[in-house]
C-alpha cells in the first residue's frame, strides 16, 4: 500500500501476526476444554465458519466459474492457498475414481513457531484448515470430507490433507414453496 511508510516488512508481519494470533487462540482453547478432542472440534468449527465467508471473498477476487469436476476444484483450492496463506500445496494421490485427492504442504504457515508438547499428540493443531475447506465448498454446493493424514508437527516429513467428495448438494426449495 502506498500511503503507508513503515520500516517493517508488512508481508512478514502479516503472516507472523496470523500465526501468533492463531497460536494464542489454540492455547486459550486448551485452557478452556479438558478434552483435546473438543479443541479439535472447535477449531474445525471455527474454520468452517471462516470458510463460509472466505468463499465469497475468493469468488469476488477470482471471478471463478462453477467447477465441473473435482480436478478443477482441487486447482481452485490450490489457488486459494496461494492467495490467502502464501503457500503452494502439491495436489497428488488421486483416487482412481477421481473423487479423492491429497494436498501436500512442504511448510505450513500456521505451525511456524509451534512445537507440540508430548501430552498433546492428539491435538490436530491445524484443523482450522480442514474446516475452512469444508465450509467454503459447502457454499458452492459440494459436500466433502477433509482430514489430515500426515502432519509435520507429529514428525512426518510433510503435511498432507486428504479431501474426499461426498455428494453434490441440491438447491433447496425455499420454505413455503413446493
Amino acid at each position: 500500500m502506498s500511503r503507508q511508510n513503515t520500516r517493517l516488512d508488512t508481508k512478514k508481519v502479516n503472516s507472523e501476526l496470523l500465526t501468533l494470533t492463531y497460536g494464542a487462540l489454540v492455547s486459550q482453547m486448551l485452557r478452556d476444554f479438558e478434552n483435546v478432542e473438543d479443541v479439535n472440534k472447535q477449531l474445525e468449527r471455527i474454520g468452517y465458519n471462516m470458510g463460509m465467508r472466505l468463499i465469497e471473498d475468493f469468488l469476488s477476487r477470482t471471478n471463478s466459474p462453477r467447477c465441473l469436476d473435482m480436478r478443477e476444484t482441487a486447482d481452485k483450492i490450490q489457488l486459494a492457498f496461494r492467495m490467502y496463506l502464501n503457500v503452494q500445496p502439491t495436489i497428488s494421490n488421486w483416487a482412481a475414481s477421481g473423487d479423492e485427492f491429497s494436498l501436500i504442504f512442504d511448510s505450513n504457515p500456521l505451525t511456524e513457531f509451534v512445537e507440540l508438547p508430548q501430552d498433546y499428540q492428539q491435538l490436530r493443531y491445524s484443523s482450522i484448515i480442514c474446516g475452512c475447506i469444508r465450509g467454503a465448498l459447502e457454499m458452492v454446493q459440494l459436500e466433502v470430507q477433509c482430514w489430515f493424514t500426515q502432519d509435520q508437527l507429529k514428525g512426518d516429513a510433510s503435511t498432507e490433507i486428504r479431501v474426499k467428495f461426498v455428494r453434490r448438494l441440491e438447491d433447496a426449495v425455499p420454505a413455503g414453496e413446493d
Binding site: V13, T21, M29
Partner: protein, 154 residues
C-alpha cells in the same frame, strides 16, 4: 491483499468464540483481551528484533502509533496525546476492525467486542518492551476509536 482477509475473519471468529462459550455468561471480554495480550507479547519481539533501543517511553509510544500500527492495522494512528504523566490517548479515525461494521452509531453496543483484542495486543507489546500498562478503548462514533494507555508505575 488477500492474506489480510484471513486475519480479519480469524479475528471475528475469535470474538465469536470467546463470547459465546458456555462459561461466559456475562460477556466477559478478558479471554479475548488475553489472546491479544499473548499475541502482542510475542509479535513485538519479532518486530523489534533488529531495532535500535527506544530512547524513552514517548519514543516507544511513537513506534506503536507509526510502524506497529501501520503494519498491523494498515494505517497510522491519527492522533497521539499525552499528559506526560503516563497517560496516552491514541486515536484512530478509521479503525480496521470497525470500518466494515458501521459508520454511525448503529451497532455501537457491539463495538467493545471488536476492540478488546487490540487493547490486549497493545498491552502485551508494551509489556515486552518493559512498560506495564492498562489499556482501554473508547468508541463514540464508529469507525473511530480512542485507545487509552495508562502506564502503571512503581
Amino acid at each position: 491483499m488477500a492474506e489480510e482477509a484471513i486475519f480479519e475473519y480469524l479475528h471475528s471468529e475469535i470474538v465469536n468464540y470467546t463470547l459465546t462459550k458456555e462459561t461466559n455468561k456475562e460477556n466477559d471480554l478478558s479471554a479475548l483481551e488475553y489472546i491479544g495480550y499473548s499475541t502482542g507479547y510475542r509479535i513485538i519481539e519479532r518486530l523489534t528484533r533488529e531495532w535500535p533501543r527506544f530512547k524513552d517511553e514517548l519514543d516507544t509510544m511513537k513506534f506503536i502509533c507509526t510502524d506497529f500500527w501501520s503494519s498491523i492495522y494498515k494505517k497510522q494512528i491519527d492522533n497521539l496525546r499525552t499528559n506526560h504523566q503516563g497517560v496516552y490517548v491514541l486515536q484512530d479515525n478509521a479503525f480496521r476492525f470497525l470500518t466494515r461494521l458501521s459508520s454511525s452509531s448503529q451497532y455501537l453496543e457491539h463495538a467493545p467486542k471488536f476492540v478488546a483484542f487490540t487493547c490486549g495486543l497493545v498491552r502485551g507489546s508494551l509489556a515486552n518492551l518493559g512498560i506495564t500498562s492498562t489499556v482501554t478503548a473508547e468508541v463514540q462514533t464508529m469507525p473511530s476509536c480512542k485507545f487509552h494507555i495508562q502506564v502503571n508505575r512503581g
